[in-house]
């Protein structure tokens, strides 16, 4: 049972444009959501998080949106840069307990 789903295994975006990565979850107990970025042969690196009491969190070029009623979150990257090419994982947690990860979306930024 996949509680965190990333339905797009890959995404290609032109440099300078907006990248939008999507994530859906099924467990209504999840109240803390994170995005991680992963380069080959490295561990995932924390990017941005949001708690369920908010619907938006922004950090520089990265913004995460949370729609609790739809159990959906998205990560917006604008403007996209070549160094953003990586695999992005959505993750969720109930009340500070263990993280459950999605299967990842491979983002490719085209110069």
């Amino acid at each position: 049972d996949q509680q965190v789903k990333q339905n797009s295994p890959s995404l290609s975006v032109q440099e300078g444009r907006i990248s939008i990565l999507n994530c859906d979850y099924t467990n209504s107990m999840f109240d803390y959501f994170l995005w991680y970025k992963k380069y080959p042969a490295e561990g995932p690196t924390f990017l941005i998080s949001i708690s369920s009491i908010k619907d938006k969190n922004e950090d520089g070029r990265f913004t995460v949106f949370l729609n609790k009623s739809a159990k959906h979150l998205s990560l917006h990257i604008v403007p996209s840069q070549p160094g953003d090419s990586a695999v992005y994982f959505c993750a969720a947690s109930p009340k500070g307990e263990k993280l459950t990860f999605g299967t990842g979306t491979r983002l490719t930024i085209i110069p």
Binding site: Y32, A41, G43, F89, G96, F101, T103
Partner: protein, 115 residues
Amino acid sequence: GAGVSQTPSNKVTEKGKYVELRCDPISGHTALYWYRQSLGQGPEFLIYFQGTGAADDSGLPNDRFFAVRPEGSVSTLKIQRTERGDSAVYLCASSLIGLSNSPLHFGNGTRLTVT
């Protein structure tokens, strides 16, 4: 070093052998997590330590897997009688207090291959 350190980076072993994977968390981080990532999947939770004790080991797949953190710092994941299905990247992560207050910081992982 400032980050989470995992050794070895790669481990090849024969089916049926015993392996140990080591994790050095960020200094001062009390929470330590082990995850396993198979090809094409996201990391899957194995076990979580708060200090020296295992707060949640519900992700360990069976009794061949065991982890310790005797002094509340370094942790070792132990796998007995390895099987080919154990082949994966084993990731360790630490956080300052626990997930509710700080995100997880991951190491680069140990790639385990069971032949």
